[in-house]
C-alpha cells in the first residue's frame, strides 16, 4: 500500500485530502461530521471579527454539468464564538483555521485569538471573489502590496504557520504567491473560486441571490492546474521562495489528486465534490488515489510530487 501521510507546516495529515474552506465547516457539529470521514484534515469556514449571516439565496447551485456557482457571503459565527467552540472541542483530524477581516489589523487580531484558542495553522482568506465591489476583501488578493501588508501583520502577531489563500482572478498568480511568501507566509493555498456570473434567460436576471458569484467544480480544474503550475515553476526557478502548496479546484477523483501532486502540490483541498457525493467522497478519493499509486509504483506522495513540472521547466 502506498504511503499517503504528509506533513506540512502545522499539520500532520493522515492523507493529503483536506476539506476546503467554506464547505460545511462553520460549527463544531459540522466539523465533527467531516472529521469522521476519511479526510486527512479540515479547513474551517473563514472566520471574521463578527458573526455574519449568509446572503439571500440562491447561494449555491449546480448551474450545469461540472459547474458549481456560489455566493455565500462569508457566513460565520465570528471569532469569539468560534474560539469558544475550539476550546470546547477536540477534532479527530488536524484543522487549518481560515480567517478574514476588513483590514490587516483585524486579521492580526483574529489570528492572535485563534492561536490562543489552540489553532496550529492559519489560512488567510485574501481572495473572496464575491464580496461587494470596492470592498477591501475583493482587492487584497489582487494587490501584491496589500497581500504583503496583511501577511506581514499576521506573521508578526502569531508564531503558528500561515498559508495565504490566493485568488485565480489575476494576470500572473506567481506575483501574488511571491508577495505572500516574501512577507513571511509559510505556505500557499490555491485557488479560490473563479469569478463568474450566470443569467436565467426566462427570469432575465442572474440566478444567484448576490448576483455575482464564484465558480468551482470540475470545470475549473484545468484552470487551477495551470495556476498551480505557474506558482510551482516559479518556485523551482528560484523566482519566489519555496513553500508547500495546498492546491484545490474541482478535484473529484483520486486521479485528480495525483494530477495536483504531480504539479507540485503537497496536499489538496476538496469542496465542491461534497456537493455531489458528500463526505463519503473522501473515502472514495482516498481509495482511488491509493490504488492508482500502487498500480503505478509510487510508494509515497513525495515520489510523485512535481514530476509533471519536469516537462515544463523551460516554459516562460
Amino acid at each position: 500500500m502506498a504511503e499517503l501521510t504528509v506533513e506540512v507546516p502545522g499539520l500532520a495529515l493522515s492523507n493529503p485530502l483536506m476539506l476546503a474552506s467554506g464547505i460545511q465547516g462553520g460549527s463544531a457539529a459540522a466539523l465533527h461530521r467531516v472529521a469522521a470521514s476519511r479526510c486527512g484534515g479540515l479547513v474551517s469556514k473563514s472566520i471574521g471579527p463578527e458573526k455574519r449571516e449568509i446572503y439571500p439565496g440562491p447561494v449555491c447551485v449546480e448551474a450545469m454539468d461540472s459547474v458549481v456557482l456560489n455566493a455565500m457571503g462569508l457566513p460565520n459565527p465570528g471569532v469569539e464564538a468560534f474560539t469558544n467552540m475550539m476550546r470546547e472541542n477536540e477534532f479527530s483530524k488536524p484543522m487549518l483555521v481560515s480567517i478574514f477581516g476588513p483590514d490587516a489589523e483585524s486579521f492580526a487580531n483574529i489570528a492572535t485569538q485563534m492561536e490562543d484558542a489552540g489553532a496550529t495553522a492559519l489560512e488567510l482568506n485574501l481572495s473572496c471573489p464575491h464580496s461587494k465591489p470596492g470592498s477591501r476583501s475583493l482587492i487584497v488578493g489582487q494587490q501584491p502590496e496589500l497581500i504583503k501588508e496583511y501577511v506581514s501583520a499576521v506573521k508578526q502577531a502569531v508564531n503558528i504557520p500561515i498559508y495565504a489563500k490566493l485568488t485565480p482572478n489575476t494576470a500572473q498568480i506567481a506575483i501574488e504567491a511571491g508577495a505572500a511568501l516574501e512577507a513571511g507566509a509559510d505556505g500557499i493555498s490555491m485557488i479560490n473560486t473563479v469569478s463568474a456570473l450566470e443569467v436565467d434567460p426566462y427570469a432575465g436576471r442572474p440566478i444567484i441571490g448576490n448576483l455575482l458569484c464564484g465558480m468551482s467544480g470540475p470545470a475549473i480544474r484545468p484552470i487551477a492546474q495551470r495556476k498551480l503550475a505557474e506558482v510551482a515553476l516559479a518556485m523551482r526557478r528560484g523566482e519566489i521562495p519555496e513553500a508547500p502548496i495546498l492546491a484545490m479546484g474541482g478535484i473529484t477523483t483520486g486521479l485528480d489528486v495525483a494530477r495536483f501532486i504531480m504539479l507540485g502540490a503537497s496536499a489538496v483541498q476538496i469542496g465542491s465534490a461534497l456537493i455531489y457525493g458528500d463526505v463519503a467522497t473522501f473515502g472514495q478519493i482516498e481509495k482511488e488515489l491509493g490504488d492508482f499509486m500502487d498500480v503505478s509504483g509510487y510508494k509515497d506522495l513525495e515520489s510523485m510530487r512535481g514530476i509533471a513540472l519536469d516537462s515544463m521547466e523551460g516554459l516562460n
Binding site: 460545511q24 459540522a30 447551485v61 450566470e198 432575465g204 436576471r205 456537493i275
Partner: protein
C-alpha cells in the same frame, strides 16, 4: 427602467399558457439529463388558491416525469426572483427557501393517480406548494399571483418509507406540517388502496388557519382535528387524541409520520417509540443552500438538507438540539 422579464411588465395579450408550456419543456430537458433540477428554473405561477387565513397554494406546471419522481418528505428550493413591485430582487428581498410539495394534479395520461378530483387543469401536470405566512418572506410568497415567477430546484432530500400492504399509517401534523402528511397519505392510498389503514391527526392554532381538512378526509380512515384555542375539533395539542389512537393499532404493523414544530414532534415521536412502533419526522430547519455546502442546517451530526429532511424518530430523540423551536 422596465424589465420585460418581470411579470408586471408583460403585454396584456401575453400568452401565459405558452410560457408555462415552454418552461415545463425546459424543466423536462433538465430533469432528463440530471434526474433532478439542479439550478433554479423560473416557472410562471398557474394559479394561487387561498386555503385559509395566511395560507395559500401556489400551483406550477411541471413535466409529469418530475411530479412522478417526487417522493413525500422531499423538498424543493423555491425562490421569487422579483419583488412584489416587479423589480429585480437582490440582496434585500426574497431568499430561496425549502418547501415540500403539498399536492399534485396529474393529467390522465400521466402517472397512476386514483384521486380523480385532482386531475390537472388543461390536462397538464401541476405541483402545488402550500405556504403559510410565517414572516416577511413566506408572507410575500402567499401574496403572489398567477403569472408571477417562482423558481424551483429539486427534489432534494430523504423520503418517508414506503408503506406495505396490510400496514397502518399514523400521520400527525402541526400547522403547515400538513403538506408532507397529505402527500404521504395520498401516495399510500394511491399505491395500496384499501390495503392500508390511514389515521391522521391535524393540529392547528385555530379554525381560521385550518386547511387541507377536506383533502385529508377523503384519504384517511379517520381524521381528528385539534386546535390550540378549541375553535375547531378537540381543544388542545395533537398529543391528546394520539394516546387513544396508539392503543387502537398493532404497533408492529404501524408507522407514525409527523411534521410540524419540533416542540410538537418531540412528544409525538416519544409516544410512538414508547408504544413500540417505527416513526419518522420531516424536519424543518433554516436551510439556505440545500447542497450540503453551507453546513447551517445541522441536527446533531446530520445535515437536514441531505441526511434529512425525513429522519428517524429514534435518532432524533437522542439529539440534544432536537425539540426546541428553531
Amino acid at each position: 427602467m422596465s424589465l420585460p422579464a418581470a411579470p408586471q411588465n408583460r403585454a396584456e395579450d401575453f400568452d401565459l399558457q405558452a410560457l408555462s408550456d415552454a418552461c415545463s419543456e425546459r424543466l423536462k430537458s433538465e430533469f432528463n439529463q440530471a434526474g433532478k433540477i439542479a439550478t433554479p428554473i423560473p416557472l410562471p405561477i398557474v394559479e394561487v388558491v387561498e386555503e385559509a387565513e395566511g395560507v395559500a397554494t401556489i400551483w406550477l406546471q411541471v413535466p409529469t416525469e418530475l411530479a412522478a419522481a417526487y417522493k413525500p418528505g422531499q423538498y424543493f428550493m423555491c425562490w421569487n426572483p422579483y419583488d412584489n413591485k416587479g423589480k429585480m430582487d437582490n440582496r434585500n428581498f426574497n431568499s430561496e427557501k425549502p418547501y415540500s410539495v403539498g399536492n399534485i394534479r396529474i393529467d390522465s395520461t400521466g402517472i397512476d393517480d386514483k384521486t380523480a378530483a385532482d386531475v390537472g387543469q388543461h390536462g397538464r401536470t401541476q405541483i402545488g406548494f402550500t405556504i403559510k405566512n410565517l414572516g416577511r418572506q413566506s408572507g410575500e410568497l402567499t401574496r403572489m399571483a398567477r403569472g408571477d415567477w417562482l423558481a424551483i430546484r429539486g427534489p432534494f432530500g430523504t423520503t418517508f418509507p414506503t408503506p406495505h400492504s396490510g400496514s397502518t399509517l399514523i400521520l400527525v401534523s402541526g400547522g403547515i406540517g400538513s403538506t408532507p402528511m397529505h402527500m404521504a397519505a395520498k401516495e399510500a392510498r394511491n399505491k395500496l388502496g384499501n390495503r392500508v389503514q390511514i389515521h391522521a391527526i391535524m393540529g392547528f392554532r385555530n379554525a381560521a388557519e385550518s386547511h387541507y381538512v377536506e383533502l385529508m378526509e377523503k384519504l384517511c380512515d379517520s381524521l381528528t382535528i385539534t386546535t390550540d384555542d378549541g375553535s375547531l375539533g378537540i381543544h388542545g395539542y395533537p398529543t391528546a387524541p394520539l394516546e387513544a389512537l396508539l392503543q387502537s393499532v398493532e404497533p408492529q404493523q404501524t408507522t407514525l409520520l409527523t411534521c410540524g414544530p419540533e416542540p410538537m414532534m418531540k412528544p409525538v415521536l416519544q409516544m410512538a417509540v414508547d408504544s413500540g412502533m417505527s416513526c419518522y419526522a420531516a424536519m424543518e430547519r433554516y436551510l439556505p443552500c440545500s447542497v450540503a455546502a453551507c453546513g447551517l442546517c445541522m441536527v446533531g451530526d446530520k445535515l437536514t438538507c441531505r441526511d434529512g429532511p425525513v429522519m428517524s424518530g429514534d435518532w432524533l430523540l437522542a439529539q440534544d438540539d432536537f425539540g426546541q423551536n428553531h
